[in-house]
């Protein structure tokens, strides 16, 4: 909605008075020929002269109205009251007529001007209300501070008929500073570097937020326009504050979430570390006990328990370290040419204890092309996948490790077990940190293993995913063979030469 600012009804001061004089001159020229010779009709004339007085009060207000009254009084006296062409008045009754005319015309003029002024004011107030309503409706629909600022600039531009409007908001905490400049359709881009005609600060309870700058041809703002501009500014501020508060609330929620994650990690890690420690401490304090004579079998048994649990601890600590490296983006594969079957066989060696109650089938042909990978990291991936499979599949079932050449670019590896299916919506989620789709208490582990696998494989430029198989459950992953293909895809993570 576009409306012409009410000030355009009025010309500049000075001009109004000139118009008034002009109007009376023309009016006089028109009625002068109808003047009677004797001058008896000057009472009628004086009635006629009320017309230009009312007109100028209506059009140009109080001052010009009063001026019209005085000039009409003089003109009547000079041209229409005998003796003509002099300001002298011979008859007393003429004098009374003239004085009454002056009084009546000034009073009427003032009344008319006042009515027209209050009409204009109420119209202005109506416009103000409409614009405010428009602004509020638009602001209510705004979702972020950028949108609010644009709305504010747009509405200011339209309402004030400005040439250019600029809304500037300073950055706060983690909110970036924003800046919007809008130009009116006419005379766009003229004299942009000139000073703004008007500046309104955006002031909140918390302090200075920014300001609205307005450039306009007509530099003078009416009180109504000032009021509109100030209301716009305060509306803008309260909407900005609302958005900021809601953003602060959602940041607080995020922090809470990450706090919850951290305490989850702590409890999970302490649980995981203490379990092997318990065995180690029990065995060691048992061995050092003075009250028992240990036979060599028992001693050997306790010592090997300590050894295996130490390995277990080492694996856990390694996983934690890798996790924090992946988190920090500092996991750098130290690649060399390796054959996959070697890596698989050492990882089987290291999980021998865990897999003792499962059937293992390995189908990794030694003639597969060598891959450029970090030996220990890929070994960790296999250890984690095998260990995951032993935890979630029934004892005595089969765990199968297969690798084939997928195409010229990559090897496809599958580690599958005969465990239960995982719900479709959880297939992605199991690679997230601390996510265990089965009840956490029933299976040991920090829920880190799979997310580490994902981190490592992705750092190698490969991909890992999980699938429900016809009989059981499988992890699939790709390892790039072709170095060129790899460097194109993950160039920035490339540290291997």
């Amino acid at each position: 909605m576009h409306f012409i600012p009410f000030q355009k009804f009025k010309a500049d001061h000075g001009l109004e008075f000139l118009f008034t004089i002009l109007l009376i001159t023309i009016f006089t020229l028109i009625i002068l020929p109808f003047r009677s010779q004797g001058g008896q009709d000057h009472t009628i004339m004086s009635l006629l002269y009320l017309l230009p007085v009312v007109l100028s009060s209506l059009l140009w207000g109080l001052g010009p109205g009063a001026l019209a009254a005085v000039i009409s009084f003089l003109v009547l006296n000079y041209f229409f009251v005998p003796p003509y062409k002099t300001l002298l008045v011979h008859q007393t009754q003429d004098l009374i007529v003239l004085i009454v005319f002056l009084g009546v015309s000034i009073t009427i003029g003032q009344l008319v001007a006042r009515v027209s002024k209050s009409l204009a004011a109420s119209k202005a107030r109506e416009h103000e209300a409409i614009h405010l309503y428009e602004l509020i409706t638009h602001l209510a629909a705004s979702k972020d501070s950028q949108e609010i600022i644009s709305t504010l600039a747009e509405q200011t531009l339209i309402t004030l008929g400005a040439r250019q409007v600029e809304v500037m908001v300073e950055g706060q905490a983690d909110i970036p500073p924003s800046h919007v400049r809008l130009e009116g359709s006419q005379q766009a881009a003229a004299r942009i570097d000139s000073k703004p005609t008007h500046i309104v600060p955006l002031q909140s309870t918390g302090g200075f937020l920014g300001e609205i700058r307005v450039w306009r041809e007509n530099a003078k703002f009416s009180p109504e326009e000032e009021r509109v501009l100030n209301t716009f500014a305060s509306q803008g501020v309260s909407t900005l504050e609302r958005i900021r508060l809601s953003q602060a609330a959602s940041r607080a929620r995020l922090l809470e979430e990450s706090d919850r994650f951290k305490s989850l990690l702590l409890s999970s890690v302490s649980h995981e570390l203490r379990t092997p420690l318990a065995t180690i401490k029990a065995a060691v304090t048992g061995l050092s006990s003075q009250t028992v004579e240990w036979d060599s079998d028992a001693r050997q048994d306790l010592l090997s328990a300590v050894e295996e649990e130490t390995d277990h601890l080492n694996l856990l600590v390694g996983n934690l370290l890798n996790m924090s490296r992946i988190e920090a983006g500092a996991l750098k594969p130290e690649c060399s040419w390796n054959s996959l079957d070697e890596i698989v066989s050492t990882s089987l060696e290291r999980t021998r204890q865990q897999t003792s109650r499962h059937e293992l089938v390995v189908e990794v042909p030694p003639e597969l092309p060598p891959v450029l990978v970090d030996y220990f990291q890929i070994e960790q991936v296999f250890i984690n996948l095998i260990s995951n499979s032993t935890k979630y599949s029934p004892e005595g079932s089969t765990i199968r490790i297969q690798a084939v050449k997928m195409d010229e670019e990559a090897l496809l590896v599958m580690v599958s077990n005969q465990g239960p299916h995982v719900a479709q919506e959880d297939l992605e989620r199991i690679f997230d940190k601390f996510v265990r789709v089965t009840a956490a208490d029933k299976v040991t582990g920090a829920g880190l293993g799979l997310s580490i696998c994902k981190g490592i494989i992705e750092a190698h430029g490969g991909r890992i995913w999980a699938e429900n198989l016809e009989q059981g459950f499988g992890f699939k992953l790709t390892i790039p063979i072709s170095w060129d293909g790899f460097s194109r895809k993950a160039g920035e993570e490339l540290t291997c030469e």
């Binding site: 328990a305 029933k442 040991t444």
Partner: protein
């Protein structure tokens, strides 16, 4: 009953089972092991062990649940062995009928000491059906006759003091939570009035202990409750 006390260990960690079996066997106990809650309950019913060592994190049912179900038909001493070290976890398990609580990792001597205390306690409760007299240090407590003597001299107790001492002594060796003491000696409605308990424990210690500031008979279990010790 065999001369060798029989201990059942219920824990899902193969390694800790292996270590405990080796050590406890060397310590002249008869040991059987179970790696799940259900298996543990079945073995407990079939073999009637003299003591059960129970982990709280089991693959099938929670250890506290195992504890509750055991208590439905058996008074066998239960020692909880768990990595959960929160006060709440301990109190919860003890309230559900466990006798003692040891957090992992633990020293084997401490476990053995707790096993001895628990076995002695259970022997005493069985024996005390006849005698009803409990000896600790130079204190003799005759629950049936309501008489307490310290170094041969009679100790006078108020009714509440006696009720409290009787409850503690008849559960000698067990860790009793504040709430269970309050609800037995006072009233279940007063379960949270720990300050009552503090006052009466202090009075009892003054009358019974050689050094009330370093108690040997009524021991503190910080944050949990008290334990009445039967000294050798």
């Amino acid at each position: 009953m065999t001369t060798q006390p029989h201990i059942l260990v219920i824990d899902d960690e193969a390694q800790i089972l292996r270590a405990l079996r080796t050590i406890l066997t060397a310590k002249q106990f008869k040991v059987s092991v179970a790696s799940s809650g259900e298996e543990g309950l079945t073995l407990a019913a079939a073999q009637k062990p003299d003591l059960i060592i129970l982990d709280l994190s089991l693959p099938d049912i929670d250890g506290v649940e195992v504890c509750t179900r055991l208590r439905e038909w058996s008074q066998v001493p239960i020692i909880i062995l768990s990595v959960r070290d929160g006060e709440r976890d301990k109190v919860f398990a003890l309230d559900k009928g466990a006798d003692d609580y040891l957090t992992k990792p633990f020293g084997i001597e401490e476990l053995l000491a707790r096993i001895r205390v628990a076995l002695r306690h259970s022997a005493q409760t069985m024996g005390s059906q006849k005698s009803q007299v409990i000896y600790t240090g130079n204190v003799a407590i005759d629950l049936a006759m309501h008489s307490i003597s310290r170094g041969g001299e009679e100790v006078k107790l108020t009714a509440t003091e006696f009720k409290l001492l009787a409850y503690l002594a008849s559960n000698a060796g067990r860790v009793l939570t504040n709430r269970s003491i309050l609800s037995h000696v006072w009233d279940p409605a007063e379960m949270d009035r720990v300050e009552y308990l503090r006052v009466y424990i202090r009075q009892l210690r003054k009358k019974l202990e050689t050094d009330p500031d370093h108690p040997h008979i009524i021991r503190n279990e910080p944050g949990i409750g008290y334990r009445f010790m039967v000294e050798d």
